[in-house]
């Protein structure tokens, strides 16, 4: 008896190979003292988050512009020649800008590769356009629109916004966008329409994000101006198609730009991350 009193005065150790004279369900005061809460918390500042959310918005702008262009072509407001010329001009300008930004020397190798890409793309697109045009002739329009919607949604979901999440798959997002563009292009009346729409989609979804990424790296302050520009272009073009769409777009814009950051910041106090010696070991190089 006296021996056990002695032992309990000693500090209780978290080992099992010693008989420490206590019962099996004894809970010491040192329980959970190694637990740390919310170690890696970040404090968010509202306007900074709003500024960062424009990355998502820019991709959404691309999608809306594309759909708006489709509807304009369908209503014969926009002619395919005009679209093709405009998009080619903008592409060339963007290419030169990209070239200037990256300060690359005029190596012929990467120029040759880019030229090859362009050549393949043009030839393929042009030769397969007649097939593409009649591809979905017998499928109802509603089905096509539903498929396009889901494919563009997939594009937005899987797009690489600069984080390294597991869901990101650059190839899948690009392919989904091209699939959506082919679905829509098959609804247009002539081969020229289809070809120009597909070309425009390719430039918008494949080449524009590259330029965007490079601009963000080198000129971060340009992002806000770019977003405002694109936003206004989208609003104007969608407004001429349908007014309901504009309202939806503006609400969406508000939601993502203002509401979501506010929501994020409001939820921060509820964060309850527990860290402790039970965590998996992370090998740091």
């Amino acid at each position: 008896m006296a021996m056990s009193c002695d032992r309990s005065r000693k500090k209780w150790q978290k080992v099992l190979y010693k008989d420490q004279g206590v019962s099996d369900n004894y809970v010491d005061e040192s329980f959970l003292e190694e637990m740390k809460k919310n170690l890696h918390i970040r404090t968010y500042e509202f306007w900074a988050v709003v500024r960062e959310s424009n990355v998502v918005m820019q991709q959404i702008y691309s999608v809306w512009i594309f759909v708006a262009v489709y509807f304009h072509m369908r209503n014969f407001v926009l002619t395919p020649q005009f679209l093709f010329e405009m998009s080619s001009a903008v592409t060339i300008v963007g290419y030169i800008v990209n070239f200037v930004i990256l300060h690359e020397n005029a190596l012929t190798k990467s120029r040759w590769k880019d030229g090859k890409t362009m050549g393949i793309f043009l030839i393929l697109g042009f030769s397969l356009s007649p097939i593409l045009m009649t591809l979905t002739k017998t499928i109802s329009t509603d089905t096509i629109y539903a498929m396009t919607f889901f494919m563009l949604l997939a594009n937005l979901l899987f797009h690489d916004y600069g984080t390294d999440a597991a869901i990101v798959s650059q190839a899948f997002s690009l392919n989904a966008a091209i699939f959506a563009s082919i679905c829509l292009a098959s609804r247009l009346p002539t081969t020229w329409h289809a070809f120009s729409l597909v070309t425009f989609a390719f430039e918008l979804f494949a080449l524009w994000p590259i330029l965007r990424r490079n601009l963000k790296i080198h000129f971060p302050r340009l992002q806000i101006i770019l977003s405002f520009l694109l936003g206004s272009v989208v609003t104007v073009s969608v407004a001429t198609v349908s007014s309901v769409a504009v309202v939806v777009f503006l609400l969406l814009h508000l939601f993502i730009t203002i509401l979501c950051p506010a929501w994020l910041i409001r939820l921060q106090p509820y964060k309850n991350n527990i860290h402790g010696p039970w965590d998996e070991a992370v090998i740091k190089q």
Binding site: G125, T134, Q170, A171, F172, N175, I178, A206
Partner: protein, 600 residues
């Protein structure tokens, strides 16, 4: 004190039922200590002269038939108790000196008496007997005459059961086969012994299970078959089998050309493989004087040829060839017209399904051109068609099976356009499926690693992604159209294949049917024994009567289908068929491993 047989387990003693009312004598037969059986095949009366040692003849050569015991019949004159009888016997005929007895065989003498007592006797007359309760035994009575008469059939059943290899449910059958093999083997050895031993010993046999002379009916059958067999062998079969063994026919291309049309294949089976059957006839002479396999083959062939000639006669004399031939051509042309309308229907809106118009248009016109060619072919064939039919009935001379396989060939020639369409559609469908699966992987940004056989993530260039997505979309939207065409033609092809399959099944059934055994079963049932019946005659000691019953017709029928390669071997189960249909692989039901031997 006698040790008794070594080891434990039931000792089986086979005793011919005809010996039950024979006078007392020495039993001769064969004993196997390790497998625990003893077969009595004969009863030998002792000779009068004491100097003669009947075992002396055996001793020089390999001891085939050895003395294994004494049979004591109490109703005999000698009378008396069992043990004294045995002593009396051994003592009386003391020419059997102890040394000769002890050196004659590994076992000691067994003594059977009519009441079923098994007594064991040691070689020395003054050593004592013990009643045979020291070891477990069972006496099995068998009909030696019936066994001798029908040993060929038993041999066949042994061989075919061995080929089955199905030991799960056939353990009882295996036990029966075991008995049959033991008895047949011992009888065969006994036959050779009797044939080789001298006439003095043969005179002393009180009973011997060997065949003295051939049954009259089989003799008649042999004579009947001798002349046609001579004719067939020398004029037809030997030259044709020499032909089929020529080096020319072993070239793979020629071999394939002969295997595919079933007429030639059937002729090769019937007439070309005669050499191998001849050889097996020579080596298969286990039983004394069994009907040679040549007779059996000839009978089968004869039946076939007779049926063929009957059909030929009927078709020629009834004069319905012309009308049927005409009707057939008209029907073939109507089928071609129906086909055209089917294709037009597919090019439109078939069953409300929405097909891709340009592709359906292209495929439809492609097949329509083939139908046009087919109709031209039919038109050129029409004048000669009834003559072709008339003279092809002549093949009935070679047998009904050849006629049926000729019919099968004609059907496959008449439906060759269906086969062509099926092959085109299947190849296109398969190609599309393979391309789609590969492009889907590209769509997800993954790639098939052929070396490791797994899916890896891959980094593609932008133009690769673009081209891949373009092709994926095109293939995906044209997939329903291709599937529709493929399904329609696959169904038609399966229909034709089922008709051909029925014909070929009946041909192979007729190939393997044992006609000779059917005939023999009707005429002389005792020589076609196929079933063993065991009934208990006496309980103490256990005595079982193994009765041979004639083979049932159903069993004979089953023999004809027994050696067919199973479906799993051919790879033609329903699941594999379904898988091939879905993947678009071609269905080839006629390529099967060639059968190695025929039971009849």
């Amino acid at each position: 004190m006698w040790k008794g047989p070594r080891g434990s387990g039931l000792f089986r003693i086979y005793f011919p039922i005809e010996c039950l009312n024979r006078p007392s004598a020495f039993t001769i037969g064969y004993v196997d200590e390790s497998n625990k059986w003893a077969v009595v095949t004969g009863l030998l009366r002792p000779s009068e002269s004491s100097a003669r040692d009947p075992e002396g003849q055996d001793r020089g050569s390999t001891p085939l038939s050895s003395l294994i015991g004494i049979w004591i019949n109490r109703d005999d004159d000698r009378g008396g108790g069992g043990e004294e009888d045995a002593l009396h016997w051994t003592g009386d005929h003391s020419l059997y000196s102890s040394s000769s007895l002890s050196s004659s065989s590994d076992t000691d003498l067994l003594c059977l008496s009519k009441t079923g007592e098994v007594l064991a006797v040691n070689g020395h007359p003054d050593h004592y007997l013990c009643k045979g309760r020291a070891f477990e035994f069972v006496i099995i009575l068998y009909d030696s005459a019936l066994f001798l008469a029908s040993c060929t059939l038993m041999q066949l059943m042994n061989n075919s059961d061995d080929d089955d290899g199905d030991d799960a449910g056939d353990r009882r059958n295996n036990r029966q086969q075991d008995n049959v093999q033991i008895i047949s083997g011992s009888l065969a050895k006994h036959q050779t012994y009797v044939d080789s031993c001298g006439s003095e010993i043969q005179k002393r046999f009180a009973f011997s299970a060997h065949r003295r002379r051939k049954p009259f009916l089989l003799h008649v059958a042999d004579c009947m078959f001798a002349f046609p067999e001579y004719l067939l062998m020398n004029l037809i079969l030997i030259p044709s089998s020499w032909l089929s063994n020529l080096r020319f026919f072993q070239i793979p291309a020629i071999k394939m050309m002969i295997d595919i049309p079933s007429t030639l294949n059937q002729m090769k089976i019937r007439y070309g493989s005669y050499q191998t059957e001849c050889l097996t006839a020579q080596t298969g002479r286990h039983c004394p004087k069994q009907p040679s396999t040549r007779n059996v083959n000839v009978c089968c062939l004869f039946g076939d040829v007779c049926l063929g000639l009957l059909t030929l006669g009927f078709l020629w004399t009834s004069g319905c060839i012309d009308s049927y031939a005409d009707r057939f051509i008209v029907w073939a042309e109507a089928v071609a017209v129906e086909f055209e309308s089917l294709l037009h229907w597919l090019m439109g809106v078939p069953a409300g399904l929405k097909v891709n118009e340009p592709l359906a248009y292209f495929l439809g016109h492609f097949f329509l051109y083939h139908i046009f060619l087919w109709k031209a072919y039919l038109r050129t064939l029409r004048p000669f068609w009834s003559d072709i039919c008339y003279y092809s009935c002549l093949s009935g001379c070679l047998g009904l099976t050849v006629q049926l396989s000729l019919l099968q060939d004609l059907i496959s020639m008449m439906t060759i356009h269906i086969y062509c369409f099926y092959v085109y559609a299947a190849r296109l469908y398969h190609l599309q499926i393979v391309a789609l699966s590969s492009l889907w992987r590209l769509f997800c940004g993954k790639k098939l690693n052929v070396l490791r056989k797994r899916i890896d993530s891959a980094s593609y260039d932008i133009d690769q992604l673009f081209a891949g997505t373009l092709f994926f979309t095109i293939l995906l939207f044209t997939f329903p159209t291709t599937t529709l065409f493929y399904l329609v033609f696959a169904v038609l092809r399966l229909l034709v294949l089922s008709i051909q399959g029925m014909l070929s099944t009946s041909v192979s059934f007729m190939n393997k049917m044992p006609v000779y055994w059917f005939f023999l079963r009707l005429v002389r049932p005792s020589s076609t024994a196929g079933r063993l019946n065991a009934s208990v005659v006496q309980h103490e000691p256990l005595c079982i009567y193994l009765q041979l019953k004639p083979i049932s017709f159903r069993e004979l029928f089953r023999m004809s289908t027994r050696n067919a390669p199973s479906a799993e071997v051919l790879g033609n189960t329903w699941t594999s068929l379904g898988k091939k249909l879905i993947l678009g692989e071609l269905i080839y039901p006629w390529i099967e491993p060639s059968p190695k031997s025929h039971p009849s």
